[in-house]
């Protein structure tokens, strides 16, 4: 390659933007973090030996990572053999230990910790291989695995609803902006009117009156979130359509649809991407609010909103049930917001001046 051709080789908008984004440490951190959280939710469940709806009787609200002991009936003639699981913090309440002093119970627990079996009353105790890293919820379900499944729903709804909002918003905005005139005025008037309607309320009504389903959830949210997207795209298209390359396309005799899809929409993708990145956390927030109010994802499925709602109910006794989902949810919001801010700085033409 000669030196001359290297000089001619300019950097495209995207390459330029990518370089600027890569320099923004917080944005890169946000991107990496979001990818990691998504992978954690997608792949995680295959590394945890519990199901998200698997309830363990007697193992309600165990603490994060605490030791768990198995309890079997010693003489088991008539009934099916069944093992119950008792967390360390509940051992003192075991009926078999009622007659023992605190000291004696502690000794037995010490024995169990050394993986010895202990006989007490009708039961045989032993150390279980169960291990719930983040503890269990009020129904004895593993919080870690519920957190992963919940993340799948929350992130999934966030991405899918954003996709719906992009689809509607970009099409609506591009058509309105390109056609211009009375059509444009009428279409934007509709958007203005829709803006004044309290939409969270309408999503809530939709969720109440129509059969609850996850599809409806993201459709409803997506149908609400497209308005701003439509306005942004319409503004850009209105500015673009008088540029020479569009006039060239018109004089070549290309159809309206062809111009909109092949020439206008690709040119507004920058703003669309920026705004979408900021829409995803908004959508996740809306989903979480709905689930928190009991109108979103239905049990036994979970989403981060559902988990936060469950955790908030028993905050005094089991704060970790709120803490972990809330922390992961907030971390995701942080990541996406930092990424969105970074993308805006990277793709904003005004930012390229400095």
């Amino acid at each position: 390659m000669t030196a001359a051709s290297e000089i001619e080789h300019g950097t495209s908008l995207w390459r330029d933007a990518w370089h600027r984004l890569a320099r923004n440490k917080l944005a890169v951190l946000g991107l990496v973090n979001f990818i990691l959280i998504t992978l954690f939710c997608l792949l995680g469940p295959s590394f945890v030996p519990y199901k998200f709806d698997e309830q363990a009787r007697t193992l309600q609200s165990s603490r994060p990572g605490e030791l768990i002991f198995a309890r079997d009936l010693t003489r088991n003639k008539s009934r099916e053999p069944r093992t119950d699981y008792i967390p360390l913090s509940k051992m003192i309440d075991e009926s078999a230990f009622v007659s023992l002093s605190r000291q004696e119970v502690a000794e037995k627990v010490e024995k169990l910790k050394r993986r010895e079996t202990v006989q007490a009353g009708r039961y045989t105790y032993s150390r279980s291989t169960r291990h719930h890293v983040l503890g269990t919820d009020a129904l004895g379900r593993d919080l870690l695995v519920r957190l992963m499944y919940g993340g799948r729903i929350s992130i999934g709804v966030g991405l899918a609803a954003t996709a719906v909002s992009i689809l509607i918003g970009v099409l609506y905005g591009a058509i309105s902006g390109y056609l211009g005139g009375n059509v444009d005025t009428a279409m934007m008037r509709i958007v203005d009117i829709l803006y004044t309607i309290p939409f969270t309320i309408f999503v809530i009504l939709l969720m109440v009156f129509l059969p609850r389903s996850i599809w409806l959830l993201f459709l409803a949210i997506g149908a609400v979130e497209w308005l701003t997207m439509a306005r942004i795209v319409r503004g850009e298209v209105t500015a673009l359509k008088h540029r020479e390359f569009i006039e060239a396309a018109i004089s070549l005799g290309l159809g309206r649809l062809h111009i909109i899809f092949r020439h206008l929409i690709p040119n507004v993708m920058g703003s669309v991407i920026v705004y979408s990145t900021l829409t995803v956390p908004n959508v996740m927030l809306l989903e979480a609010v709905l689930s928190f109010l009991g109108l979103g994802v239905q049990p036994p499925m979970s989403s981060w909103g559902v988990l936060i709602d469950d955790g908030a109910k028993t905050l005094e006794t089991t704060p970790w049930l709120l803490l972990f989902p809330a922390a992961l949810f907030s971390l995701t919001l942080f990541s996406l917001n930092f990424l969105g801010d970074g993308l805006r700085d990277a793709l904003d033409p005004r930012a390229s001046k400095d």
Binding site: I197, P198, I201, L205, P281, L322, S330
Partner: protein
């Protein structure tokens, strides 16, 4: 100005008509009714109940009757959830609670957000800027349903400074009962206000008229708080409209967390109970509130920016 106001008031009519119509048909067409949660009653009793509430008439007739009562007498109909009260009474009793929480939250948001935003803009890229913007980011990323329970446990249960449940003042709590819910909402919106104030102020501080003011020797405090702030507030003022809609849906969350008998609570209850008239009534009420508030925001806009007035 008067023409502008009247125009906007006229726009209220089609918006409200759309809201009423959509909500009415959506709630009536949905499966289940206000009595489906109760235990089974004899068909004759059911028929009587339906007749009493006018549910036996054709839908179109019900719709027109509802509109007539609403327009002529402002009557939102009887409530099914509270047999002894009309929807108007339910709103009259619960809205003041939400209004107090919402206004205090708005005030807190402005009192927290504006100074932080101004500080961040004036001392751009300083430690104060980073601190303010981290606060803003945290406020946005710790939504109300996370912040609410946390504030409840820290200030309500541990420190015993404020109320956790309802409006009854508990023990030696010295904070007013609505303070913690309002703070929950206020922190969230304060974060937005801080960000918007910062970007608005940054734009204004680069303008020529600010340089002129500085050049003629106006003190920097006066330049910032008198000259720049008025223009720098524009993004915040535009945000107030959506913020109100947000405060309303936020009130659903904090009223649930703090168990407050507010309007948001009644709306959710109505939605769960399929209480047609309560849902319709609250939705119409919210719609009127939002449209009127948006009008007010536009007027404030025009006052702040003389260019809009023409």
């Amino acid at each position: 100005m008067i023409k502008f106001t009247l125009q906007r008031l006229l726009q209220l009519v089609p918006v409200l008509l759309i809201v009423i119509t959509v909500t009415f048909w959506m709630s009536k067409k949905a499966p289940g009714g206000p009595f489906s949660a109760e235990r089974k009653v004899a068909p004759q009793v059911m028929a009587k109940m339906n007749a009493y509430y006018g549910l036996d008439k054709p839908l179109l007739q019900q719709y027109l009757l509802y509109l007539k009562n609403l327009v002529l007498r402002g009557d939102l109909g009887p409530s099914f959830t509270y047999p002894t009260e009309s929807v108007n009474q339910v709103i009259a009793r619960s809205f003041p609670v939400s209004l107090q929480v919402g206004s205090l939250a708005m005030l807190l948001a402005l009192f927290i957000g504006i100074p932080l935003g101004v500080l961040a803009a004036v001392k751009k890229n300083s430690l104060a800027d980073y601190f303010s913007m981290s606060f803003a980011m945290s406020g946005i990323c710790l939504p109300t349903f996370v912040m609410g329970p946390i504030l409840a446990i820290v200030f309500g249960l541990w420190l015993k400074w404020g109320n956790v449940f309802g409006l009854e003042k508990s023990g030696n709590a010295w904070l007013p009962p609505i303070f913690l819910p309002a703070l929950t909402l206020g922190l969230f919106y304060g974060a937005y206000v801080a960000r918007l104030t910062r970007s608005g102020m940054l734009e204004i501080l680069n303008q020529d008229y600010i340089r002129t003011a500085r050049a003629k020797g106006v003190g920097s405090f006066r330049v910032i708080w008198k000259h720049a702030l008025k223009g720098g507030m524009m993004p915040v003022v535009s945000f107030l409209g959506p913020a109100l809609a947000g405060l309303i849906s936020g009130s659903f969350v904090v009223e649930k967390v703090f168990k407050l008998p507010g309007l948001g609570n009644e709306f959710i209850k109505g939605a769960f109970n399929r209480d047609y008239s309560l849902i319709l009534g609250t939705v119409i009420f919210y719609a009127v509130l939002i449209v009127l508030f948006n009008l007010l925001v536009d007027i404030i806009h025009a006052w702040l920016d003389p260019r809009i007035r023409q």
